[in-house]
């Protein structure tokens, strides 16, 4: 079981101040939880200020994965990093809302580029807010 999970490990790429995660597999619950802790460990290790999570390939987000994503955003925010979810498919957005999960407090962007702009803007305003 463990080796199986290991094979499916989702890569996290560091780019400047940000981490980029592209979820390319249909995740089962354990893999989703593993990704959550993996990202938090990576934030701690790298001091990243933002995390972009690309879910454009995900054809389905159910209540568990939705909860993992919004939990992820709150945890990262406590660690002083912002999370932006990018590329949600329209069918996924519709289903999430109908399911009753509106993911309050989660920032989203249409694509990677817009998500990156969002994070950069946030990083810059944080810098000026200090003075």
């Amino acid at each position: 079981m463990n080796t199986n999970l290991h094979e499916k490990r989702i890569p996290i790429i560091k780019l400047g101040n940000f981490l980029i995660v592209s979820i390319q597999v249909d995740m089962h619950d354990k893999l989703a939880l593993q990704l959550q802790s993996q990202i938090l460990e990576e934030i701690e290790k790298t001091g990243a200020k933002g995390v972009l999570i690309d879910i454009s390939v995900l054809e389905m987000v159910d209540s568990f994965i939705g909860r993992m994503l919004s939990g992820m955003a709150s945890m990262a925010s406590i660690m002083d990093a912002a999370v932006v979810i990018v590329g949600m498919q329209p069918a996924v957005a519709i289903t999430l809302v109908e399911l009753g999960l509106e993911m309050p407090g989660v920032d989203t962007a249409l694509n990677m580029e817009k998500g990156m702009e969002m994070l950069e803007k946030r990083l810059n305003s944080d810098d000026t807010a200090l003075f």
Partner: protein, 141 residues
């Protein structure tokens, strides 16, 4: 296990055991494929897949898994995908409570059953103490 009567005209597309997280992933991919084969649109494919995903998780987390029966056929003159999830868990004490938004027995956020119901066209649940729970959902075009 509580078995439900199927219409004799329905076609069995598959019967699968849920016994691991991997089997959950596999079955929900199959559900999407069957929905696609019935030429449902992408949104309906996603709705039925997500609804079933919630039911499979319940079965796996609370009843050590179970059996999923996938059928297709006519329901009220509409071409439907019919998915029946059967487990041999301890059963649900208060179905009305379990069907209310926000109710959770612990791990979840309480959107599983009511959320799943909102995503499908027909939802039926039967539960008997120490016998198990069976949920049948249908999505039609």
């Amino acid at each position: 296990m509580i078995e439900l009567v199927s219409d004799s005209s329905w076609e069995i597309l598959g019967k699968h055991q849920i016994e691991s997280e991997d089997s959950i992933v596999k079955v929900r991919q199959l559900i999407r494929q069957h929905a696609k084969d019935l030429s449902m649109g992408i949104i309906d494919q996603t709705r039925i897949t997500t609804a079933v995903s919630e039911l499979l998780r319940n079965m796996y987390n609370y009843a050590n898994g179970g059996i999923v029966l996938i059928e297709s056929g006519m329901v009220d003159e509409k071409n439907a995908l019919i998915v029946t999830c059967m487990d041999e868990g301890s059963g649900i004490d208060d179905i009305e409570l379990a069907m209310s938004d926000g109710y959770t027995s612990g791990q979840g956020m309480g959107f599983g059953l009511p959320g799943s119901k909102r995503l499908v066209d027909d939802f039926e649940i039967h539960s008997k103490k120490d016998v198990g729970t069976t949920v049948r959902v249908m999505k039609w075009k």
